[in-house]
Symmetry: none
Subunit: 201 residues, 4 copies
Amino acid sequence: MTTTKKAAPPSERRAHLVRLAADLFAEQGFRATTVRQIADAAGILSGSLYHHFDSKESIGDEILRGFLDDVLGGYREAVTGVDDPRAAIERMVRFSTAALSRHRAALTMLQNDWAYFSAQKRFAYLRTAMREIEQTWLDQLERGKQTGQFRADLDARLAYRLLRDILWIPTSWKQARGRSWTTDEIVDGLLRLLFDGIVAR
Amino acid sequence: MTTTKKAAPPSERRAHLVRLAADLFAEQGFRATTVRQIADAAGILSGSLYHHFDSKESIGDEILRGFLDDVLGGYREAVTGVDDPRAAIERMVRFSTAALSRHRAALTMLQNDWAYFSAQKRFAYLRTAMREIEQTWLDQLERGKQTGQFRADLDARLAYRLLRDILWIPTSWKQARGRSWTTDEIVDGLLRLLFDGIVAR
Amino acid sequence: MTTTKKAAPPSERRAHLVRLAADLFAEQGFRATTVRQIADAAGILSGSLYHHFDSKESIGDEILRGFLDDVLGGYREAVTGVDDPRAAIERMVRFSTAALSRHRAALTMLQNDWAYFSAQKRFAYLRTAMREIEQTWLDQLERGKQTGQFRADLDARLAYRLLRDILWIPTSWKQARGRSWTTDEIVDGLLRLLFDGIVAR
Amino acid sequence: MTTTKKAAPPSERRAHLVRLAADLFAEQGFRATTVRQIADAAGILSGSLYHHFDSKESIGDEILRGFLDDVLGGYREAVTGVDDPRAAIERMVRFSTAALSRHRAALTMLQNDWAYFSAQKRFAYLRTAMREIEQTWLDQLERGKQTGQFRADLDARLAYRLLRDILWIPTSWKQARGRSWTTDEIVDGLLRLLFDGIVAR
DNA sequence: AATGAATGAGACTTCATTCAT
DNA sequence: GATGAATGAAGTCTCATTCAT
């Protein structure tokens, strides 16, 4: 009846439910959140959720896809036409941080339940996407070494792994008690740490 | 060395079971691991575990306490009689990394199931211990700022939070597929990144 | 008449299940009855009970509250506007007997599992209610002593304890093999025994 | 090796264990008491109990037999050579009360777990013994009616059932908080209630 | 006599999911 | 779109009992 009506008929109601679920996933993790909690948040019974989704995993799928589409698109844009690798990395960092704060649930799911998702065929795209993300970072780091902007002895893959996980960190703090820093402060602190370390010069 | 606990009469068998459980917790998380899996790993029936522990949480408790006792002791030793804050931090970093690799399960539990544990009275000591750990870091970072070794504009608390989580990262990689770096390489990479950044000079 | 409870949305199905459970509790005791037996009696799986109740204890709670509300209400009514203590006691006896036969499960639970229930915070109201019941009896017994209708040397508290337990007796016979007496016969026998003893005059 | 050595080799240790178990049964009931609790009370492990008894029921059996042997013997003696039925009943009441306080566990078991025991062949003697006890009471009550000492309209069987259960009451109070009355006071109160009622003359 | 370890049956409970209405 | 009821698999835990040492 409605427009698309395939695996994911995009309705307002449906999108709203995904958002509610995402909030819960972000705070508790995917597995630790029950469909009943999601339904409660929506003010309906848990069984009624199945009019909108055919499984809990479908909701997870939707959230993860949304995140990866966003990140992948953003990274492609971040490096396109930017010659300076340091500038490109700074753009990637800033974009990552923004994207992660838009998709807190996806981050929690990737951190807490990676083993659960990546073991399923249905989520094979997760590995593919992560690989592209990795490659984008490696490209910029290697270019920086070639231009002499970055240390020649830098292990690009090691740096990437460290950086990726480091970028994930601040997002997982959100909504914590202290709440002392703005996103910008954190990113700046991170970039400063990243490029210059903590030692005074 | 170790104090004899009443609630947990130490026995070889028991210690062995804790180790088996810890391996599973490290890989899957505490909640995601079932007592049946632990029992299977030990070659016994799940109910038989309760001859040794009065609950799954007791096993978790034992693992977490072991970790925190280790870390707290190590940190105290790392800073005692060390005047140079940079040296103290380097000692703390090296100790942390070693301790974390000795207690991978505890790390996974703290990362994945913090909400679950910290909500329980029984695990109130988690918060206490984390507070002491934080204070130890803050002390050294502040001292470094006073001596002029660290940047004067360094936000100590922000740096601590970033550093703590960053130190946790490499441990969670262990046993992953790539397995490209030794612990020492990772620590060195981390320290290098930490003190000097990635930019060439 | 009945107040709508939040924790226990009333439904026909639910009420029916409580009744089934009550029958089993009456015959076997609360602890000795398994949720599986209750579910079997209802023709469903044991897990399905948890769609209606959040625990076995919730069922027990519902039964006990229903009983105490009934008794307390009845006692208040029994003594209101009745000047003659002997008449009041007779009304209380008759009401008790009727109430008990309406709530056989509650009686069994109080007799067999008092220790279990009264040890839990959730069932604190049990003690409160029993205290009010006791006070109602003591009031009437003392008044009877003052009016000279009852023996001056009567130990009111001792008499209450004996009477209360005595009143509980006949209900626990019901559904036994012999089944020789009607409720009225038992009450009359009891009242006769109570007021006049067994000795001929 | 030892003297009898059949189903129940009477050793001091064994008797001691039975006593410990009886205390627990008296307070918690037979089913509600675990073998582990018994073992704990004895300072041994639960498995070690099986050197003395071949099952938990064996302990119950021993306790119940001891009680019934005592009561049956006492009743026979109470009525032998006593012509006056009122005197005989008073002797039976006094003996019952004394016996019950000596065998509190048996009483609790009979009250709480009668259904459990009486359903087993092994405990068939319970019914036999109860029948003899009942007959002894009926004999005295009927004789009292014939001599004109008791009311002619007294329903002997009803009176027996009431009396038996009434006699059980005070024992189940023991060890309660109030602890206001001595055994003698209770028996006297009971006899007074029984023979004369509460009404003043 | 007792320990230490284990069994096996069964208890209460959780939860994603299904489906008739 | 939603309800109300149920399923079925799985999870944590309990407990009487057994047995080699």
